[in-house]
């Protein structure tokens, strides 16, 4: 698949967790919905590997940052819905701050955009 759209960005290690938490802030969502939301909001720049998505969900659930429940989707399909827990919300704030600081720091190191491109 990656051969079809080679220009897509690879997800950095650990960022998938943050994106999942961020996506769930708008309410419960199932796995497919989460993957699609990340893809769409990133302007189709990020492709979520499903092989990575479910272990990530598994991991987040085990840590108590998200909860899960079987429910029915908009088009009447049974799906497992994930919700953000209180701890997850806290974690999201923390990770977001950290990520922003990291992004700014890396931006400084790389210098102004114009010079690069």
């Amino acid at each position: 698949m990656s051969t079809q759209k080679p220009e897509r960005l690879e997800l950095l290690q650990g960022t998938l967790d943050l994106l999942i938490l961020r996506t769930l802030i708008f309410g419960p969502e199932h796995g497919q919905g989460i993957a699609r939301a990340i893809q769409q909001t990133s302007g189709n720049e990020l492709l979520v590997e499903h092989g990575a998505l479910y272990p990530a969900l598994q991991r987040l659930e085990a840590r108590g940052w998200i909860g899960a429940e079987w429910g029915t989707s908009t088009n009447n399909r049974k799906a497992r819905f994930y919700t953000l827990t209180k701890a997850g919300r806290k974690q999201l704030v923390e990770e977001t701050t950290q990520w922003r600081r990291l992004a700014v720091a890396i931006g400084r190191v790389l210098g102004p955009e114009s010079e690069e491109s």
């Binding site: 199932h30 497919q32 590997e49 479910y54 272990p55 991991r59 399909r77």
Partner: protein
């Protein structure tokens, strides 16, 4: 917990939702479905990843390994059985020795905070000391105990225990006959110091120990209450009459408590205030220098041993000076200044036999550890051979995707199974060996050896260690493969030089360790034979021994006692076939009275003499030959000059260059023991043990001292079975109430004194033989394997004209090379081991050529034999068959 099905469901939902979306975008249902599947990727892989992320997957894999391991073990039942048995013997032997070591050296008393307990001195001496303290002191008088109790600032409690367990006879409740009762006299503070509460009734208090003779009460040992009274609930108030006093039982100790002295479990605890009543012959509550007690104390919280020691020694010096009196000479004060008390931690209780058994146990423990090591080497070799023949299987598994870690895990599981089976089977081995140990050693019957948590943990840790030891290297070896080469090779052909080197190294190591063990055993056996041949100085044949408890029958040290003793000696001597009969304070190996003497006109010699109070014909009964003067006779009585017969060493030490006959000496200051005249000299003998260095000794007639001495010796050349009842009847004729103990022979007593030497010698020989056996199994296994592997080569050699003898010699040579390397290393180990043993066991001589040479010869024979069988098999190979082999 989420099931894998639940997860599969979720993925299906995902794919369906994706397909729905694509269909909305205008794809046909089939296309949408296929695209959705494609975009999800490998569903099975996702499921697997999910599955493996779960924790209990481990358990599943473990169960899988377990099943597989069991199958593999079952496929080689013979070698698996050998491995399991080898391990069972190794682990069992270690557990058994450790159990005993645990009880003797490690186990804490079942009391409150045992770490706070300290002992004054080391409790190595027993009995009474009546000189002024002048060195590291261990025994204390009752006034001394009270002084320490009153004046120390570091203990919350101090307790005193009589250093001798009094075995007397008493009447329990309304029983008709006197029965044996062992009594431990203790201070009223004993139970309180230990922190032991009564299971029934109460224990003793300090108030029970206030006035001499005024507290006829006793605390019963739980074991005695169970054995003698059948756990009768009405135990409180039960009367036990000993001598003329009747004691009332006020309480029973808890079941796990056996006393403070390991291996000495009395029936009753009676307050020290009753010392004179329980032991009319041996007491001195009011005497500063009747030092017969062990002192045990509980440190106050936060007080270190050093602080306690400082305080105790200040008090002790003041006490000793006070005992010496104001008129003490400077010499006396100088010798007192050397007196001190060494406080030792007493969490494990005190023990007389700890010192005797510690050396032998440490040696046995090291020996069985080495045997286990040899066993491990054997099993490792077995696994190496097995994994080599499974190389193709392992190569196949690894090439179709099994991780190396996974294969190692699986191989270790097989080792673990072997170890576990070995450990399970080791329990009966350990139990049997422990019984054997206890029956062979000098350990008292009252030693309570029950496996506890420590032993269990030890056995478990040992098993794990063993498994890792023998399992790791073969597993690592087996999985380090050149895959293509292994797959190409046929089954059975492999094993690079590395595997071979390892196997051979293990064999050489086994030979070395076995030789060291055998040589050690040889030394111990040689030592034992030497001891058995020691000249005892008396004739141990045809002598019967018993004990007559006059105190239990209510006698006191007076003329009535003396008359009874003389009449017993006369009546027994008058029986047919009796060459001599007499009482004695001590006979052999039963402790004794050691004291210094004063010879007029000579400077005080710091030289102890072993004193014995005996019947007029005791020396004849023992056949101690007379060298000079005369034996004691019945005419040496209360009215005549006090006399003594001394031995040659005493004559040489105290009366050098002169005839000692007619000379006098004195013991201490008691009027009874002044101006003792030497009337004869007897040949030197052993008195307390075969290993003792020659003691100066003297014998005194009891007719002149009216002493309560209980050992009774009879020399008779008639059948003991007939004589013993006659002796019993003769004694009963004098006084039917006299309790008479069971009879033994002097030969048995001498034999028992060697119990520990015999134990170590025999067990180390047995373990040495076991080691040699294991080593020979190892040699046999490795050589047979190597021959199977080289069948092809031998076939070629023989086809090219090698004779059978050449092939046989070639194979045998290989074995010999290994054995020679092993022997060289083993010789060095043996020399080191001997030196270590000599430093632990007293009286062990240096390594002699025989004790080393014999094991070397034995090892060579064993090695050649176990290498010869496979070598012979190599010659039976038919070249035509061998070349077609595989």
């Amino acid at each position: 917990m989420r099931t894998p099905d639940d997860f599969r469901e979720e993925i299906r939902a995902h794919v369906d939702l994706e397909a729905d979306r694509l269909r909305e975008q205008g794809l046909s249902p089939e296309e949408a479905r296929a695209a959705a599947r494609r975009s999800f990727g490998n569903v099975t892989a996702a499921e697997e990843r999910y599955y493996e992320s779960r924790r209990w997957v481990w358990l599943n894999l473990l169960a899988q390994d377990l099943r597989f391991g069991l199958r593999m073990l079952k496929r080689n039942p013979g070698s698996s059985l050998v491995a399991v048995l080898t391990l069972a013997l190794g682990i069992g032997a270690n557990t058994a020795i450790f159990s005993l070591l645990n009880v003797v050296m490690l186990r804490h008393l079942p009391v409150r905070q045992p770490d706070q307990l300290v002992l004054f001195g080391k409790a190595e001496w027993g009995g009474s000391a009546n000189e002024l303290p002048d060195r590291n002191w261990q025994l204390f008088s009752y006034p001394g105990y009270r002084d320490f109790q009153r004046r120390n600032k570091v203990f919350s409690d101090v307790a005193a225990i009589d250093s001798i367990l009094l075995t007397t006879h008493g009447r329990v409740a309304s029983a008709e006959n006197l029965e044996k009762v062992s009594v431990e006299l203790v201070s009223g503070t004993f139970f309180q110091t230990l922190g032991v509460e009564a299971a029934i009734g109460r224990t003793l208090t300090d108030a029970d120990d206030a006035h001499p003779g005024a507290h006829p009460i006793a605390v019963a040992n739980y074991a005695w209450w169970e054995r003698r009274l059948g756990k009768a609930p009405s135990v409180l108030g039960t009367a036990v009459t000993i001598g003329k006093t009747t004691y009332s039982i006020v309480g029973v100790t808890p079941p796990q408590f056996f006393g403070a002295i390991v291996g000495q479990s009395p029936d009753l605890w009676i307050p020290l205030s009753m010392e004179k009543e329980v032991s009319p012959a041996w007491n001195g509550l009011d005497q500063d220098l009747f030092q017969s007690l062990y002192l045990l104390a509980r440190r106050k919280p936060g007080v270190s041993i050093e602080q306690a020691s400082a305080n105790v020694n200040v008090v002790f010096q003041q006490m000793a000076r006070a005992y010496a009196g104001t008129a003490a000479s400077p010499e006396v004060l100088e010798s007192i200044s050397h007196a001190h008390v060494e406080l030792t931690p007493a969490a494990t209780g005190l023990s007389h036999f700890r010192r005797q058994l510690t050396g032998p146990l440490v040696i046995l423990m090291s020996i069985v550890a080495l045997v286990l090591l040899i066993a491990c080497a054997n099993v490792a070799n077995l696994l190496l051979a097995r994994s080599a023949s499974r190389q193709r299987e392992i190569a196949v598994r690894m090439s179709i995707g099994a991780g190396r870690q996974r294969v190692i895990q699986q191989l270790l599981m097989e080792s673990g199974l072997l170890g576990l089976a070995g450990a399970a089977l080791s329990a009966p081995v350990a139990w049997g060996l422990l019984r054997l140990l206890l029956s062979m050693s000098s350990a008292p019957v009252a030693l309570h050896v029950a496996p506890d948590l420590r032993v269990f943990v030890f056995a478990l840790a040992l098993t794990v260690l063993t498994v890792l030891l023998f399992g790791t290297v073969p597993a690592l070896r087996a999985t380090r493969l050149d895959l293509p080469a292994s797959l190409r090779a046929g089954p059975g052909v492999t094993g690079g030089p590395a595997r071979n080197r390892l196997a051979r190294g293990l064999i050489a190591g086994q030979v070395a360790l076995s030789l060291a063990l055998l040589a050690g055993a040889g030394l111990l056996l040689h030592n034992l034979i030497n001891l058995t041949n020691v000249n005892t100085g008396f004739d141990k044949r045809n002598v019967l021994l018993t004990g007559i408890d006059s105190a239990g029958a209510g006698y006191h040290e007076d003329v009535r006692l003396e008359n009874m003793m003389e009449r017993v000696e006369e009546r027994v001597a008058a029986l047919p076939g009796i060459q001599g009969a007499g009482f004695a304070l001590s006979v052999f190996n039963g402790g004794g009275w050691t004291d210094s003497i004063v010879v007029p006109g000579q400077p005080a010699l710091q030289h102890d003499v072993t004193h014995n109070i005996v019947g007029a014909h005791y020396l004849e009964a023992m056949s101690m030959p007379l060298v000079l003067g005369r034996y004691l006779t019945a005419r040496d009585d209360r009215g005549s000059q006090k006399v003594a017969v001394i031995n040659e060493t005493m004559a040489r030490t105290f009366f050098p260059g002169m005839s000692p006959v007619g000379r006098t000496f004195s013991i201490g200051k008691q009027p009874d023991w002044q101006s003792l005249q030497v009337v004869g000299v007897v040949r030197d003998a052993k008195y307390m043990g075969l290993q003792e260095k020659q003691q100066a000794a003297a014998f005194y007639p009891h007719a002149q001292h009216w002493s309560m001495v209980n050992n009774f010796v009879v020399r008779s050349n008639r059948d003991p079975k007939l004589v013993i009842p006659e002796i019993r009847r003769a004694i009963a004729d004098v006084d039917p109430k006299l309790p008479i103990a069971d009879f033994t022979t002097l030969e048995q007593v001498v034999g028992r004194s060697l119990a520990n030497s015999r134990l170590v010698a025999q067990l180390s020989s047995a373990f040495g033989a076991l080691a040699a056996l294991l080593a020979s199994i190892g040699i046999y296994g490795v050589m047979s394997y190597s021959i199977t592997r080289r069948t092809n080569e031998f076939g070629v050699r023989m086809a090219l004209g090698a004779r059978r003898a050449d092939v046989q010699w070639m194979v045998l040579q290989e074995t010999l090379r290994l054995v020679l390397v092993g022997l060289a290393v083993g010789l060095m180990l043996a020399l080191i081991l001997n030196r270590v043993m000599a430093s632990i066991l007293f009286g062990l001589g240096p390594a002699d050529p025989l004790a080393i040479g014999l094991p070397v010869a034995l090892m060579v024979v064993v090695a050649i034999f176990s290498g010869w069988i496979p070598a012979r098999r190599a010659t039976l190979i038919d070249p035509t068959v061998a070349l077609r082999y595989e």
